[in-house]
């Protein structure tokens, strides 16, 4: 059927610009694309188990992420960008998991065996996520882990007071249930040669993480009493002790890892902990709640200083010399610190460099490495230049657990295609395989108020600083409900609650109209089910004139059906109209004289 210009132009406008297709800010920002808006609102409706199932659609370790995720979703939350009071999305995830998770609810469906075998190096979040994608597709997956524990950096990097180990261990049982084999304490290159994997398996994913500390070359750094964050945190994680830590620890760095080192220091016996960062306090890269946590535990912040020299006596660290940093980046945006003449000296007996981690090669030089030891790879597919070898996680450039998982999923999807002999590229939307900026542009809900964010119940700083026990008790039932109900529900399905017809016949209008443009067909029943009340247009941020469209397409349908509606039910209207214009029921009376 040929359609008139009004039909075509309105349909095109709606198909192209309907915001119903756009994800919420929280969801698009999450590298795993977790339906945060969905589960937050289910919690707000008191549907905790449904919320948990929604989280588990994307995340196999919600209890872990509920505690330690860097939650980029919260940064983009409209309540953050508007009022600096983001919804406690991660904490709500933890609430749903602590309260409603049950292995009986875990989805263990997988396709029949393909007979293909995949080896994954590293049981961190990237390797684990990749293994899940592949096991679900029916491939046999074996993970080789150098450590004797699962979780990678989550187990030997993130301190236990933030993430109890029983939670990681429990959540990793999902992998076993799915049939993934995990071999602990096996180091590739030492216990098994890398080429044994490439020869013995159909594909290999290298995801061994960045476990080597990075020490910035500094005058006097040959003294004893100096370590790196990776080594320091690993030892504390595995032994609850540090051989190197003295009574006065100084941490160099301004990120979350630096906060972890500083806060862990009290727990292994330090009585004074200083933190030195190049960034000024307002520019610290560490998460706000980590900074607050560190201060509550008496960490002394020395922000905006560069370390010029490590002072030592008899080869043992006794302090540092600092100089005030004026600017970190030059006019071209390059890292190029400039300093003032103001100096400062701080005494300490231990120095921890929390200034990045490096990847240690697990491929015996077979896969080429770049900056920081990260492997060179195709950024979209994670394939390397070596046949059947892919990479994922921190070795491929991720910086957080959730980013590592997204790269793990990406590598898993690629390997699955590779094993099936399919294109690694065709039909994939790489933008949506990671964090992206949504096109959503909605006004704030009418009548909304700025409301304070609710967080978990924290142990007092003085008590918690000397224990490895979890220091955040999480949200109470009441607070979880209240917190979830603060959500602005940033998605545009605003017309659907108003229009029962659009709800019944579409996911959202853009979808309905895109299908029409694609096929050229529009169901007459839908076209004739519009009440033409314009209620949808009233709430639509784009003010699409749906009624005008339906009016216009009805004209086309009538034209194509010899002047009559294509629906039989409308015959009654024809009869009605004939009578309504008949002499029997009409009259005209001029009146007057």
């Amino acid at each position: 059927m040929k359609h008139n210009d009004v039909v075509n132009s309105i349909a095109k406008d709606i198909a192209e610009n309907c915001q119903g297709a756009y994800d919420a800010y929280c969801q698009s920002t999450c590298p795993m694309h977790t339906d945060a808006i969905g589960y937050v609102n289910l919690i707000g409706e008191g549907k905790g188990e449904e919320a948990l199932l929604k989280i588990r659609e994307k995340l196999f370790l919600p209890g872990t992420l509920g505690r330690i995720c860097a939650h980029p979703c919260e940064s983009e939350c409209k309540r953050n960008t508007e009022y600096k009071q983001p919804i406690s999305i991660a904490m709500l995830k933890r609430y749903a998991t602590d309260k409603f998770d049950d292995p009986k609810l875990w989805d263990l469906t997988k396709k029949t065996s393909t007979g293909k075998k995949v080896a994954i190096i590293g049981a961190g979040p990237a390797g684990a996520q990749a293994s899940i994608e592949l096991a679900r597709e029916g491939h046999k997956v074996t993970i080789f882990e150098k450590l004797n524990v699962v979780g990678g950096m989550m187990h030997v990097g993130i301190p236990e007071y933030r993430l109890p180990r029983n939670i990681i261990n429990h959540e990793y049982t999902y992998l076993e249930k799915l049939g993934v084999e995990i071999k602990l304490g096996v180091e590739i290159g030492k216990d098994i040669k890398f080429n044994e994997l490439t020869d013995g398996y159909d594909a290999v994913i290298v995801a061994n993480g960045a476990h080597k500390g990075n020490k910035i070359p500094t005058k006097g750094d040959d003294a004893t009493g100096i370590t790196t964050a990776a080594e320091y945190l690993r030892e504390i994680a595995l032994t609850h002790n540090s051989e190197i830590a003295g009574k006065s620890v100084l941490v160099i760095g301004g990120g979350d890892v630096a906060m972890d080192c500083a806060r862990s220091s009290f727990r292994v016996g330090a009585s004074t902990v200083n933190l030195v960062s190049l960034e000024k306090e307002k520019d610290l890269p560490a998460s706000h709640h980590e900074q607050v946590g560190a201060k509550e535990e008496d960490v002394i912040f020395n922000c905006g200083y560069g370390t010029t020299e490590i002072i030592s006596e008899d080869g043992k660290v006794t302090g540092v010399k600092l100089v005030e940093c004026e600017r970190i980046f030059d006019d071209s945006g390059n890292f190029n610190p400039s300093y003032t003449e103001k100096t400062l000296e701080i005494s300490c007996d231990t120095i921890v460099f929390a200034t990045g981690q490096i990847v240690e090669d697990a491929t015996e030089g077979i896969v080429k490495q770049g900056r920081g030891g990260r492997y060179e790879k195709n950024n979209d597919t994670m394939e390397t230049s070596v046949k059947n070898v892919f990479v994922a996680g921190d070795v491929a450039g991720s910086n957080t657990v959730i980013e590592a998982m997204a790269l793990g999923r990406k590598a898993g999807l690629s390997v699955d295609r590779y094993l099936k002999g399919e294109s690694l590229i065709e039909g994939r939307d790489f933008v949506k395989e990671g964090s992206f900026k949504t096109k959503l542009d909605l006004p704030l809900p009418e009548g909304h108020k700025d409301e304070l964010r609710l967080e978990g119940e924290m142990l007092d700083g003085k008590i918690r600083k000397v224990t490895f026990k979890e220091c955040d008790a999480g949200l109470t039932d009441d607070n979880a409900l209240k917190e979830a109900q603060r959500c602005f529900k940033c998605e545009c399905k605003k017309c659907l609650p108003e229009c029962i017809m659009l709800t019944e016949y579409s996911e959202y209008p853009g979808d309905l109209f895109a299908k029409f443009l694609e096929t050229g067909n529009f169901d007459p029943l839908v076209a004739y089910s519009c009440n033409m009340c314009n209620q949808c247009t009233l709430v639509c941020p784009e003010e699409f004139d749906f009624a005008k469209f339906f009016g216009a397409i009805r004209k086309d349908m009538v034209k194509a059906n010899s002047g009559n509606s294509p629906l039989k039910g409308h015959n009654a209207i024809n009869i009605h109209q004939k009578l309504g214009f008949s002499k029997l029921f009409t009259t005209k009376n001029k009146g007057g004289k």
């Binding site: 019944e504 009624a547 309504g580």
Partner: protein
């Protein structure tokens, strides 16, 4: 002085011949030269997309208006209002916006001040942008003495009763859902409309509804009062009423 004409539309004369008769008499008391026309404006054909038929039928109504030499048409139907309002040959005025200017007959003013009913007001979605009509309806109810409440979706944000767009004959199931949803919006049990089709929809959605003409010209509504019969759902009764209305208009205009 401009010549006035009145047309009640279709559903209202099919619903209440007595209401039509009293309204024509009331208008004639203010405009002795009043014309009266009963004919459909053609809106159903327009809604169906029958462009040719609509032009033919609307043309037929225009011819009647011209024959009566009307300068200003007073309409009681919101669809007629929308179809006629753009005509350059005459002005179109809603009866509901006009009544506050004319005033109600003395005998009905304050008649319901002892009523124990609180009416929820249902505005017609087809005139959601015409605030003078919304104001007029509220003025009338206040003059009569009825207590009223507004649903959350009211005036310019009012919701459809379920009847619009000619969906009832082809998708009754959906129409019923819309009707029931609108009924669930009302804060009180008793509902007043100013469209006979809206009144029918609310009745079909299990609500208790009165047309505003029932309140102006009929008995005072009390909590125990039953709403008027749903004559529009019976084709025979509806057409008999339409026939009676035609006679009432003729008689009232021509004396």
């Amino acid at each position: 002085m401009s010549r006035k004409g009145f047309m009640p539309g279709c559903s209202l004369p099919s619903y209440s011949p007595i209401g039509i008769e009293k309204t024509v008499k009331y208008l004639k008391s203010h405009y002795p030269e009043l014309s009266g026309i009963q004919k459909c404006c053609g809106k159903p054909t327009k809604a169906l997309g029958q462009v040719d038929k609509f032009e033919e039928r609307f043309g037929s109504l225009l011819a009647d208006i011209k024959a009566c030499e009307v300068d200003e048409m007073i309409v009681a139907c919101q669809s007629c209002m929308n179809v006629l309002k753009d005509s350059e040959e005459f002005k179109t005025t809603s009866l509901w916006a006009l009544m506050p200017k004319l005033g109600l007959p003395k005998e009905v003013i304050g008649k319901a001040k002892n009523s124990d009913v609180v009416f929820s007001i249902h505005d017609s979605c087809s005139v959601r942008g015409m605030s003078d009509i919304h104001d007029g309806i509220r003025w009338i109810l206040n003059e009569l003495g009825y207590k009223t409440m507004e649903p959350e979706k009211t005036r310019e944000t009012t919701r459809c009763c379920g009847f619009g767009g000619m969906i009832v004959p082809v998708n009754q199931e959906l129409a019923e859902k819309v009707m029931k949803r609108r009924v669930s919006d009302f804060p009180t049990e008793h509902v007043v409309t100013y469209c006979a089709a809206c009144r029918q929809s609310i009745t079909l959605g299990d609500g208790k509804a009165w047309h505003i003409l029932d309140l102006i010209w009929g008995d005072v509504v009390m909590k125990g009062s039953e709403p008027p019969e749903d004559t529009l759902s019976s084709p025979v009764k509806a057409w008999v009423n339409r026939y009676k209305s035609k006679g009432a208009i003729k008689k009232a205009i021509n004396g």
